[in-house]
């Protein structure tokens, strides 16, 4: 039966391998380059583990991050890949219903229960493996950037940890559910991917509310060391009680170089106010978000199996 599932999904499997291969090539080439620049830039004392980074780090980190800002911005685009992979992996199942070949498959000597369990089991296994591979690639690739800036920010959070596995499973399950009910491949693929995009965008905008963010008021000369590697949601100038300051108060403090002068801000009682999620919440946020996507996936698969048992057979 495994052979049949494999042979039937071969074209889609080749597409998935091609997609992941292209992704791997892109990430390994750019990642290797990023690593060699990292090594040559004397950045090792500036990483997350360093207790008190030297003052020069600010400049070094800034220039490194600016240099690789383009790659950093790839994050949201790479976030489409789990969706594509999940959709592609679920498509052969829908195609079997759409083209009516399930009537052939279900009248061999394999019971419907074993047939659907094997198909969905292999699909889930494939989705987990592909999700895991994406995580390994992205985590290796982003390591230089993450070691300087943490990995809870929106450009990297959804490429690492274990959420990509949950995303892949969700996309596959959505296609499965729509496909089993409608028996239309085009509709299932389009609405499955649509559901994936909507859910991902929704969760991206809701993520900061999953655990209420922290607030910090920090006097400018010290800089935001306390929230290093955090995901800074917003940053503004306020008075020491957190109230907004009048517009002019900050404007007066631009020095001749165009930079803000910390001494001037201190004289006018202006501090930086941060709203942020600390780096320590990475795994809690991962667990919540993965939990949401996995529950949605489980419900979709449940619907698909129920429909298959009660409506299709």
């Amino acid at each position: 039966m495994t052979w049949v599932v494999w042979r039937q999904g071969r074209s889609e499997a080749i597409l998935v391998v091609g997609l992941l291969g292209a992704l791997g090539l892109l990430l390994i080439l750019t990642g290797a380059h990023m690593r060699s620049v990292f090594g040559a830039s004397h950045l090792s004392p500036c990483t997350n583990d360093a207790a008190s980074p030297p003052a020069v780090c600010g400049l070094l980190v800034g220039s490194f991050r600016q240099r690789f800002d383009g790659l950093n911005q790839l994050g949201p685009w790479l976030g489409l890949i789990p969706g594509l992979v999940g959709v592609l992996m679920a498509a052969p199942f829908v195609l079997e219903l759409d083209q009516g070949t399930y009537r052939l498959a279900l009248t061999q000597s394999v019971t419907p229960r074993r047939w659907i369990n094997t198909r969905i089991g292999l699909l889930l296994l494939g989705a987990v493996l592909c999700g895991g591979l994406m995580i390994a690639l992205a985590t290796w690739w982003r390591h230089p950037l993450d070691s300087l800036g943490g990995r809870i920010g929106p450009n990297e959070f959804d490429l690492e940890g274990f959420v990509p596995i949950a995303y892949t499973l969700f996309a596959a399950a959505a296609v499965l559910a729509v496909g089993t009910v409608s028996r239309r491949t085009g509709l299932a693929v389009a609405s499955g991917f649509g559901a994936y995009l909507v859910a991902r965008l929704l969760l991206r905008s809701l993520r900061q509310h999953l655990i209420p963010p922290l607030h910090a008021l920090i006097a400018p000369p010290k800089g935001p060391y306390g929230i290093r590697h955090a995901w800074v949601i917003s940053e503004s100038f306020t008075d020491p009680h957190g109230h907004p300051v009048p517009n002019g108060a900050v404007g007066r403090c631009f020095g001749s170089s165009g930079d803000l002068e910390p001494g001037c801000l201190a004289r006018h009682h202006v501090v930086s106010s941060f709203v942020y999620e600390p780096a320590s919440r990475f795994w809690s946020l991962q667990a919540i978000e993965a939990g949401i996507f996995l529950s949605l996936a489980a419900m979709s698969i449940g619907l698909a199996i129920w429909w298959f048992k009660h409506r299709l057979t």
Partner: protein
Amino acid sequence: MTTVPALSCDGLGKRFRSKWALRDCSLRIPAGSVTALVGPNGAGKTTLLQLAVGISAPSAGEIETLGWSPQRDPLMVLPRIGFLAQDHPLYRGFTLAEMLTFGRKLNSRWDDEAARRRLDGLGLALTQRVGKLSGGQQAQVALTLALAKRPEILLLDEPAASLDPLARREFLQGLMEAVAEHGVTVVLSSHILAELERVCDHLVILSRGRVALAGDTEEIVRSHRLLTGARRDVDEIAQLHSVIRATTTERQTTALVHANGHVYDSHWRVSDVDLEQIVLAYLALDPSPSPGPVAVR
């Protein structure tokens, strides 16, 4: 000695939402017979066949294939049946060799040797892709796969509907050769009767989800009579025999009856009817009051 019927159903019904596709269906199809399932589109032929192979579950009643419920005991049914779904679905991207591997992997009793020989006899090479074959060739491949399971019963849903007349004849010929060789029970559905008359010995007529008539074809022909006479009421004759259809013109009345024994009535001229006429009469019948004989003997 009692033999298990190849197919039997009792009060069988299948409902899709609020509409009954098949209702109050009770019949026995004996082992070794070749049975035609006849009826217009939407009569419930596909539904009955799908229930028989277990890819559909009954909403009411019972169905047994080879003595077992296809839903409750699929492993007692699936390995022993061959099924050709409507439009004989196959994996279009597979080569014929891969189609055979498919069958080998999913069936414990699988006669690869016979399947290869049959494809060879059809002039088909194992390297050919299913999608590139003609409709007739695809139907033959589907039949080959069904036969390679060494089935005790072969169920075919409109196997010839999409084929041109020549391919249809070749297909039925291939089917009959296989029947002669293996003695397999065959149930095939069709809305075209003419070609089935030659190959079938039993007949089930479905009309609007109900069984209108079922039985041995010869017996059906023998028991139906066409009565012609001067214009008159059919009530009198209806007391003795069931009138299937009566037409009255200005001068003459014609009645097709399911005769209860011989028809002795000097008012009527009694003549034989052929199977096609009988089928057409039953199909024109409004089936709402459940009609009489349904047991195939």
